[in-house]
Symmetry: C2
Subunit: 153 residues, 2 copies
């Protein structure tokens, strides 16, 4: 039950709160535990601080000498999504990508078509544009995502 589109949930708490605390609180609410695997995965995401994939998390952990199964990684990713800490980003049909979303609202991504590198950018005026377009249709904007494909340099 992967939420089909990422409706960009609004981050609700203070930005300064450590993400692990947010995660711990979310888990506690579900009567679940903040296990070493879950902590390691979250730490890795924070360290990477970029768009990431399940595979990448596993190999990064592996390099640190820490072995976690794919199953656990996927399960943890789902928990982190539910907690609003990460968000799915659709940049590639082959594999799911995610970004840290908590307190950041990363809605705009620059994809370097040469290198595949993905950079988070921020284009504030998009929110106004988006709201205007929705209002014209009698709808209410819940979020947006812009992907820009670029080459050169």
């Amino acid at each position: 039950m992967t939420s089909p589109p990422p409706p960009t949930p609004a981050p609700a708490f203070h930005i300064t709160e450590p993400l692990c605390a947010v995660f711990r609180r979310h888990l506690k609410g579900l009567n679940q535990k903040y296990t070493p695997e879950r902590a390691k995965i979250l730490d890795t995401l924070i360290e990477v601080d970029d768009v990431f994939q399940a595979e990448q998390i596993q190999s990064t952990l592996h390099e640190s000498g820490y072995r976690v199964s794919k199953a656990t990684i996927y399960r943890t990713i789902k928990l982190l999504q539910d907690a609003g800490i990460i968000q799915q980003v659709l940049v590639d049909a082959e594999q799911s990508h995610y970004v840290l979303a908590y307190g950041k609202t990363p809605r705009d991504l620059l994809v370097n078509a040469d290198t595949g590198e993905i950079t988070m950018i921020n284009i504030p005026e998009l929110e106004a544009i988006r709201d205007r377009v929705c209002a014209e249709k009698g709808l209410k904007a819940q979020g947006h995502r812009l992907l820009i494909y670029a080459t050169g340099e």
Copy 2:
């Protein structure tokens, strides 16, 4: 070899040319044939005239009493992408979605989060914004895609 991101190729020919002619020309260039299956698939896309998935094409054809295998549908989708007639759109991690792209440059989509309905919209000022952002990074914009998630009515 599904092209990972859709770099939004610029449509080059006159809009009034029927898409089947474009497709036929593309196939001829590859020494391939405009078969009934390929024609039917393209006709269906034109009739649907909306974001679509492979599955949907097959069942729509099936309702018309025409049976085409998934393999042929996927192979034809790839040909249509190469011809610049359709483009992949990433709206959902579960399945690949495509839209007719020829002569339309549909870069902006409005996703109704309540109904799942996807509408193509056009926001001309985005091109300027996109080009500006890329220029700031010393890159050259090749295309973009905006997804807006909305609810209400």
